[in-house]
Amino acid sequence: MSKVGVIDYGSGNIFSLARAVEKVGCDVVLISSPEQMKEVDRYILPGVGAFGSVMRKLEDNGFNEALISVARQGKPLLGICVGMQVLFDVSHEFGEQEGLGVMGGEVDKIPLLDINGTQNRIPHIGWAELIYEHGDGNRQLVGELFESINDRASFYFVHSFAALPADEEISVAHTVYGGHPITGAVRKGMVFGTQFHPEKSGIAGLQLLDNFLRS
């Protein structure tokens, strides 16, 4: 099977992600410089922690332009958690922070109150089901990403901020926390993003990774 490049810029739980990718039969190439990106034609961008510090590390390692270019060329790219958030234009975490701008929209705090006015516990930590945006038609948009995955499958979320896509056409699925919709998965062309962690979402998550690696 093919190889996938995992962008290794000093953030994220790369160990678990690499083991999950290997589990579905794909070789992992750790990409620690933009020059190395030529070695593969499919990429995963992990990310944990603060949006701003992830962006700074990407910039320091020169990955910004390389990732934007890969997205333009239509090579498959999957951003996970903060790795998905940085695909957007801007985040409001610790002041305004510019993102890669591959996808239109913003990243902002999960609402502090639930829809009953009770305090939401934040971070949002736990397994949640997804609601697919356009029913069956959406399955086309989402393409192969959710193929062979049960509609009621749950995925593991752990985050305090969430993406707000400017264009609903890129929103693939959301979940609900405290009664509020929370962006779960996005897609624009061959650029995919999941707020949840597929590498930590058991069988369903492994299936999603497998689907991406075959996309």
């Binding site: 160990f15 083991r19 589990k23 922690g49 009953n116 971070p123 736990g126 593991y156 590498e199 058991g202």
Partner: protein, 268 residues
Amino acid sequence: MTDASPNRSTAWSAVKQKRIRIIPRLDIKGQNLIKGVQLEGLRVVGDPEEFAKKYYEEGADELIYSDVVASLYGRNSLLDILAKTAKQVFIPLTVGGGIRSVDDVEALLKCGADKISVNSAAINRPALISEISSRFGAQCCVVEVQAKVFGKGQWMALYDNGRENSDRDAIDWACEAMERGAGELLITSIDRDGSRKGMDLDLVSKISSIARVPIIASGGVGSPSDVCDAVDSAVVDAVAIGDLFHFGRASIREVKGYLTHHGVDVRL
């Protein structure tokens, strides 16, 4: 109580009912999975990696590894166990025991941990919580509060795996931990740990009333109905279970089946 509270299904009806995570808690000594009573009288249960894999396959939502002698000896023997586990277990792994610095945290994260939990070192030097939280994110920083009853409605925070009293009020300590950046609280009742007598419901509900972050209740689950009781008495996000699973007295599927039947939302 064995029946679902009639209020449970309606209380969260507007908001989707809170889903509970079921988390096997694996206490580790050296290379062995062990289980004690009130964190003492340790008994060897088996190979932690085998148990971890079994729990993953049975539908555990997360795993907690805790090195119970790490604080005593100032080391953490979990790196090896953790790395092997992360090769075959694809759910979140929380790891605690003997963590004293951001470097310790980094070493664990590099071996596959998703979250770390701190107790002793944070009690001795509370700034450790904010150091971890600002470097790796609050979502990574679990603070374990080991609470022991010292009178009605009062608990003290213990450390060194329940051996030492910090002379801090456990509830005050939980509040301080959140202010310093804890992203989750693991509340362990020392009185109930390994007792199979049910959870300390007063403790769980007291913590629930002040929590702004998710809480994991731990200590005392002896039967599936004990989990229902905790869910009925407080808003808990997760329940950690050791004894009941380790000695095969109930499987994760059985506990989740029981909870579903009694109106508690769990991942099936």
